[in-house]
């Protein structure tokens, strides 16, 4: 039997940083899972993701549904991976991103995100990077801020059968 999940890397920041990037990701796996407990140096900030250093927002799209305890709705965006699951100066938000068939070269890359922040709300997101290239690097960042010390991001790969 083949073990499903392999831990590939974990980074915990000891000082503030603009992003956490995992590079030279092997194509040996089927899917990737990224688990983030982010923390900002100031205020409430949304989390974003870039693949292969592609920083063009128009190459990403996502659909979001969210609830905040009193209302709910759906919207669209680009490289966002949270909505009410955004991070603040504590570690009370958690985001799990599932990146499917990340090493395939015959399809755009689709990812599912579930993010929560108990004090503000809960989100489910489907995103797509409009590119057939295999993903070899992932950049995790805050869209309007800086990651604080204590931010932890882990990356796992799922084996092929």
């Amino acid at each position: 039997m083949t073990t499903a999940w392999v831990p590939l890397a974990t980074t915990t920041l000891s000082s503030s940083a603009s992003d956490i990037t995992f590079s030279s990701i092997s194509g040996a796996y089927r899917d990737l899972i990224l688990v983030a407990t982010g923390k900002s140096t100031s205020g409430t900030q949304d989390q974003g993701i870039n693949f292969n250093a592609d920083g063009t927002a128009g190459n990403y799209d996502c659909v979001i549904m969210w609830g905040n305890g009193s209302t709910y709705n759906s919207t669209t965006s680009t490289w966002l991976i949270d909505y009410y699951g955004s991070v603040t100066t504590d570690n009370n938000a958690a985001t799990i991103l599932q990146i499917m068939d990340y090493s395939a070269t015959d399809k755009h890359k689709t990812y599912l995100s579930r993010s929560n922040r108990a004090a503000s709300g809960v989100d489910a997101i489907i995103g797509r990077w409009n590119n057939d290239a295999a993903i070899t690097s992932i950049k995790y960042f805050l869209i309007g801020g800086t990651l604080a010390a204590g931010t932890t991001v882990s990356l796992y790969g799922s084996n092929r059968s």
Binding site: M1, T2, T3, A4, W5, R30, D31, D61, C62, V63, I64, M65, W66, Y72, N73, S74, T75, T76, Q98, M100, D101, A104, D106, K107, H108, T110, Y111, L112, R114, A124, I125, I126, G127, R128, N130, D132, S158, N159, R160, S161
Partner: protein, 183 residues
């Protein structure tokens, strides 16, 4: 390891089976789960799916043990990028637990596939019905994100799972289905 036996694995989550389509196919079945999944408590199907249907999305269903009795029920919650809704999808369906809007199709846009993560909880416990939890969706010609519940109202242990395109079309080449067992 004794000759002829699998290597020992102390993993709590293992890949039990995987199907990657190189040509279109009407359905995919994971069978002999009484032996293949022996010793596991829960199952997860991870899928990335496009169908040959001439539309911008499609559905598929999960049929357990080939059961076509009126034994399936479920609800869903959906976002389309501008609004949310929730519905009772079926209370006594006969074809399976739907993965409603869990697939892209021929006019969804080049390279677009829907992703699904489907948890099947306690499928071998003969004291309870089998429940499912589904997160699925896609972006493209239209946008969908869905959380879906599912219930198979039968206490039999699951021995097979068939995934079948809802409209009679096929799963397209490039679609992939992975079955994971969780202890």
């Amino acid at each position: 390891m004794l000759a002829g036996n699998d290597a020992f694995s102390d993993s709590d989550e293992d890949i039990l089976a995987e199907t990657v389509l190189t040509s279109s196919q009407a359905e995919v079945t994971f069978s002999s789960l009484n032996t293949l999944a022996a010793g596991y408590q829960h199952l997860q199907i991870r899928a990335i799916i496009r169908t040959t249907r001439n539309a911008n999305n499609s559905n598929y269903y999960l049929r357990f043990n080939g059961d076509t009795g009126a034994n399936y029920a479920q609800h869903y919650m959906r976002g389309n990028g501008s609004a949310m809704e929730s519905n009772n999808l079926q209370t006594s369906g006969t074809e399976g637990v739907y993965v409603y809007q869990g697939a892209t199709s021929a006019t969804s846009g080049t390279g677009t596939y829907a992703a699904s993560v489907i948890d099947i909880l306690d499928p071998f416990d003969t004291n309870k019905y089998t429940t499912t939890r589904i997160l699925t969706g896609f972006t493209g010609a239209i946008n969908r994100v869905l959380l879906e519940s599912g219930l198979w109202m039968d206490t039999d242990a699951i021995t097979s799972i068939t995934l079948d395109e809802y409209y009679g079309s096929s799963f397209a080449a490039g679609s992939r289905f992975t079955l994971i067992g969780m202890k």
